[in-house]
């Protein structure tokens, strides 16, 4: 084992820090610490001459551990570490601390106390550096292939993007045809043009122009050689790790050979079976063998196996001119090996049957927006005629009802965001085609927030569409005429209305697509409280999940309109591309490692790991140990905090390292105030300390800060150790409990603090000496306030007397 030689480099920031801190005293203090062989002082050390000083010391073999006191370590550290690595020292043997924002600036009113604190901070950094071990960088190969689940407009756009970038893409769609909701919707707002429009410049194999839009069937999507489209197919199993997923697809039989079918439609002319056409809102029937009109892809017929009589009939087989019909096709299982998975499963309309007072599914003349879209579509079951389903007579008076099951705490408390525009679109289309139709929209609020949406609303009003502010309480039916009556209070007129209607169009909530729960389980993804796939971070990472290599796009995370879906799809494609493009994942080994001798097979850590990085592996017949995947581990340490046997540790934040820091920080006081140990998480907690210093907020110098990856790493006995080390009080500062950057760490820390308080009480120590705070970067003032509060509290409590003295 090589002798440990620590070099300490102190930046005085152009002699600014030395106005406050006594650098001579610091240098002397540090010189005398064991294993310190070199102490240097300069204006800065993270670049230029200062950096060269460090590198020379390393190159010359003088030092093998580097401690730097530098400003803005979160920026400067990167430079130092990279440079050090280039000359051959393991970059994880470097420790950088901030004497400016963590010491000089927040304590500028008490410079001598600041200097004492700086001594303690330097000692802590040095003691930790002595215990640091080299950490390796690992490479995990990834396949340059992607899976996109869902062939709607979101999935198609992501798939085309990825294929254009050169990846092997598999697009899997559970319906027999691509297109998703767009094919039923017909037209999309705000442009009211074709819904099934998809941007695909590079993949247009026919022309070389920069045309911006092509309908899917002529977009060349199906001609892209590295885009493999599987329709009538569902994902039933996923195994493997990010970059190397093994996906099992179940391909349902189409009963028609894709290579032979010429889409001549002869089969439907002889098929004897007619079933209600659910796709067309049951406004017409279809045969057991069918194709969607208009179609996107593939241009191949399909047999509905629940309706077909198969060999008892086989009339279609006889008549097919190319022998394309194969009644004996079976389900197949297909295995795909992919590097990344993108979920684009979209959403569906809420089933309004439960809102019984609206009589959906009871009165045939009460329909939904999506069903109405089929009616007004020229290709639809009524050829664009607007009729009453009950008697097929023209509908002259139409009432639309918004927020059916949306903003409803009984069903879906959220606003589905697109229904106001959908209804306005339908109302506008009605008035354009049939201007004499009376259309009234009953609403709670009209939400037209998008770029052109308010103009759309204005045009709708100009067309003479009527608006009633009021949510209808009931739809009833006149027994003599069969006409519908909608009861509503017009709040603005303060009048009760009984609107007569031929047709009532409900705007139901948009809810997660069928199969969302099952798919989430297969992939290991979380759903949010409304049942949609949970975005990793709504603000910054809306197309990512907490699992590497798995992405989300489109309506699967929340209902959205077409423009937003496009943005989302391209974002997801970019994220997946970034993940796949290098062909490998590079990660350092700052991960957890299990001491298998100590592991008691209690199964706690696999359950608490937010990333599923821990699995149980059998070592003997009946004994299991936990084992950590370096690929999946994110280095938070929540497992460490959970293990009852101290059998698992984080390589770069070992309990021994933490204890050394605690003791060092408490070794020197130099103030008349009680020492407070503050343990901050490296995400929000430590940044709050940074910002309070950057803003020069003043708090007392008896407050000493150390950093851990996540407060979830902390164990109850560590709080007791802190008191033993000389702390009069302990502060834990973490992310807010609903915003922990490692999912659940700060919540776990809160529980441990509660437990620790109970223990302290048993030991005769006031539980108020230990406190947990949560704050974010911009709440630096909260940190300064907390530091002052704790100090005052401890002053009042007096000196801590530990049993047996310490």
């Amino acid at each position: 084992m090589d002798e440990i030689k620590v070099g300490v480099f102190l930046s005085d920031c152009g002699n600014q820090l030395s106005e406050i801190l006594d650098f001579d005293a610091l240098t002397n203090h540090v010189k005398n610490i064991s294993s310190v062989v070199l102490v240097e002082r300069n204006s800065e050390f993270w670049r230029g001459k200062g950096l060269r000083t460090i590198l020379d010391a390393v190159k010359g073999g003088k030092i093998n551990r580097v401690v730097v006191a530098e400003s803005l370590p979160k920026l400067s550290e990167v430079n130092i570490v990279q440079a050090v690595e280039e000359i051959g020292l393991n970059p994880y043997l470097v420790e950088v601390i901030d004497l400016k924002d963590h010491c000089a600036w927040p304590h500028r009113d008490t410079p001598s106390e600041a200097t004492e604190k700086a001594k303690a901070m330097l000692l802590a950094a040095i003691e930790r550096a002595k215990l640091l071990e080299p950490i390796e960088k690992l490479e995990f190969p990834t396949l340059k292939s992607a899976l996109v689940i869902g062939g709607g407009i979101a999935g198609m756009q992501t798939a085309v993007d990825l294929a254009d970038l050169g990846f092997e893409v598999n697009l899997v769609e559970k319906a027999p045809f691509l297109g998703g909701l767009a094919t039923r919707a017909g037209r999309f707002f705000p442009t009211d043009d074709c819904a099934i429009c998809i941007q695909s410049p590079a993949s247009d194999v026919k022309t070389i122009t920069h045309t911006s839009r092509k309908c899917v069937y002529r977009s060349g999507l199906s001609q892209i050689p590295n885009l493999n489209i599987l329709t009538n197919s569902k994902v039933v199993g996923v195994e493997g790790v990010p970059g190397n997923y093994k996906v099992t697809i179940e391909k349902k039989p189409r009963y028609v050979n894709e290579l032979k079918c010429v889409a001549c439609d002869l089969c439907t002319t002889v098929c004897p079976v007619e079933v209600p056409d659910k796709y067309n809102a049951n406004l017409k029937t279809r045969k057991a063998i069918y194709m969607r009109v208009p179609n996107v892809h593939p241009p191949v017929y399909v047999i509905d196996e629940s309706a077909c009589n198969f060999h008892d009939c086989a009339k279609c087989v006889e008549i097919c001119p190319t022998d394309a019909i194969e009644l004996d096709q079976k389900s197949e299982r297909v295995t795909l090996n992919v590097g990344s998975i993108t979920v684009a499963t979209g959403f569906q309309e809420f089933d309004s049957t439960v809102i019984k007072e609206y009589h959906y599914n009871d009165y045939p003349d009460v329909i939904t927006n999506l069903e109405f879209a089929r009616m007004i579509d020229g290709f639809g079951p009524t050829g664009g005629a607007i009729i009453r389903p009950s008697d097929r007579k023209p509908a002259k008076k139409i009432v639309m009802i918004q927020c059916v099951g949306s903003r409803d705490r009984r069903y879906n408390p959220y606003c589905s965001s697109i229904c106001c525009m959908i209804s306005l679109k339908h109302a506008s289309l009605i008035k354009t085609a049939y201007p004499e139709t009376d259309v009234t929209i009953c609403y709670i609020d009209i939400r037209t927030t998008g770029r052109e949406h308010e103009y759309y609303y204005e045009r709708a009003r100009e067309m003479g569409i009527k608006f009633v502010k009021g949510r209808p309480s009931e739809i009833s039916r006149d027994p003599d005429t069969g006409r519908l009556i909608v009861d509503v209070e017009d709040e603005l007129l303060k009048r009760f209305l009984e609107l007569k209607a031929d047709l009532v169009v409900l705007a139901p909530a948009m809810v997660p697509a069928e199969g969302t729960k099952e798919l989430a389980e297969i992939l290991g993804l979380e759903l949010d409280e409304d049942g949609f796939f949970k975005e990793y971070n709504a603000k910054l990472r809306p197309t990512e999940t907490k699992l590497r290599g798995i992405y989300l796009c489109g309506g699967a995370t929340f209902p959205k309109d077409a423009p937003t879906t496009s943005l989302h799809a391209h974002s997801a494609a970019l994220k997946a591309a970034k993940f796949l493009i290098t062909g490998k994942i590079v990660k350092d080994q700052r991960t957890a490692v299990v001491n298998e001798e100590y592991c008691g097979d209690c199964e706690f850590c696999p359950v608490t790991c937010p990333y599923g990085a821990i699995s149980l592996v059998s070592t003997t017949e009946d004994h299991f140990v936990a084992r950590v995947s370096d690929l999946l581990c994110e280095g938070c340490g929540i497992c460490v905090g959970t293990c009852p046997l101290n059998a698992i540790e984080l390589r770069h934040s070992r309990p021994s390292q933490m204890l050394a820091q605690m003791k060092a920080l408490m070794s020197v006081n130099g103030t008349s105030k009680p020492l407070v140990l503050t343990i901050c998480c490296s995400e929000c907690g430590h940044t709050a300390v940074d910002s309070s210093g950057m803003a020069m907020m003043q708090y007392p110098a008896n407050v000493r800060v150390m950093k851990v990856p996540c407060t979830g790493i902390l164990q109850v006995h560590q709080f007791l150790e802190a008191f033993k080390a000389g702390a009069q009080g302990v502060m834990v500062v973490g992310c807010k409990s609903d915003g922990c950057h490692y999912e659940a760490g700060s919540q776990k820390a809160e529980k441990k603090v509660e437990l620790a308080k109970m223990l302290l009480k048993e030991y005769g120590i006031e539980p108020e000496r230990l406190e947990m705070f949560s704050m974010i970067y911009i709440e630096g003032d909260k940190f300064a306030e907390a530091a002052r509060t704790m100090t005052d509290r401890l002053k009042k409590l007096g000196q801590l007397q530990l049993m047996g003295g310490s």
Binding site: K356, E357, S476, P479
Partner: protein
Amino acid sequence: MTSYALFLGCTIPARQPSYEASARRALTKLGIELVDLANMTCCAPPPVQSLDLETGLSIAAYNICLAEEADLNIVTLCTGCFESLAMANTMLKENEKLKARVNQILSSTGKEFKGSKEVKHYLQVLLNDVGPNRLKENVSKNLSSLKVASFSGCHLLRPSALLKFDDPEKPHIFDDLIETLGAKSIWYRHKLKCCGGLLRGYADDVALAIAREKIANTTKAGADCIVTLCPFCFLTLDLGQVLMKSTFHEEYNMPILHYSELLSLALGIDPEELALQFHKIKVYSVLNKIG
């Protein structure tokens, strides 16, 4: 023999002996034993809850305690009593804090609410203890020509989360029990709408206007009679028609019957025993149709 503690409430013994008479006779005939417990009080319906809800719940709980002590479930005739007692029963069973508070109040009476018994409306007894088949077997009169406008009133069904009696938007239990007797339960506009009864005494004009709509709608639908469950509804619709005549000069002559009366008639009980003379709108037309 299934036994229940009969909860009569205030309005029925005070104003509608015919409801009580028909109910006792019909239920006894069907094998239900009705036990009269001492020391029961008013159930504390909405008028009392309006003054102080906590007091109302405590009074309701007190009455339930009497049944718990007698180890009997409660059956009510009046749907107002049903709502008051069932609501209190459920609320206290589901909310520990509320139960503790009410028991604190009840301690002055030496009683403690335990939540060990159920509160039922007699329709539930007919449905579950007697059963539609046995009910049908006991029907001896032909009601097939009778077109009934059923009106269960609000408090049999709502608040549905606490009463859990039937689907509040599409109830069917009451209509089914009418048709089990052989009569036809017809549709009429706003069947589930309140009769306005609880406004009597405070805003008689409003109450009357609301009741009038109901009478008009049932008449328009061609009903031979309205069958009610709540004594307040009965009063509003029966006595109400007398007031409609004097106020609006409209005469509807729509007989109002308690379901228990219809039940008794269907079971063949002599109309003489049912105290039908207390009805303001005479029910001869109904009696004639039944035969």
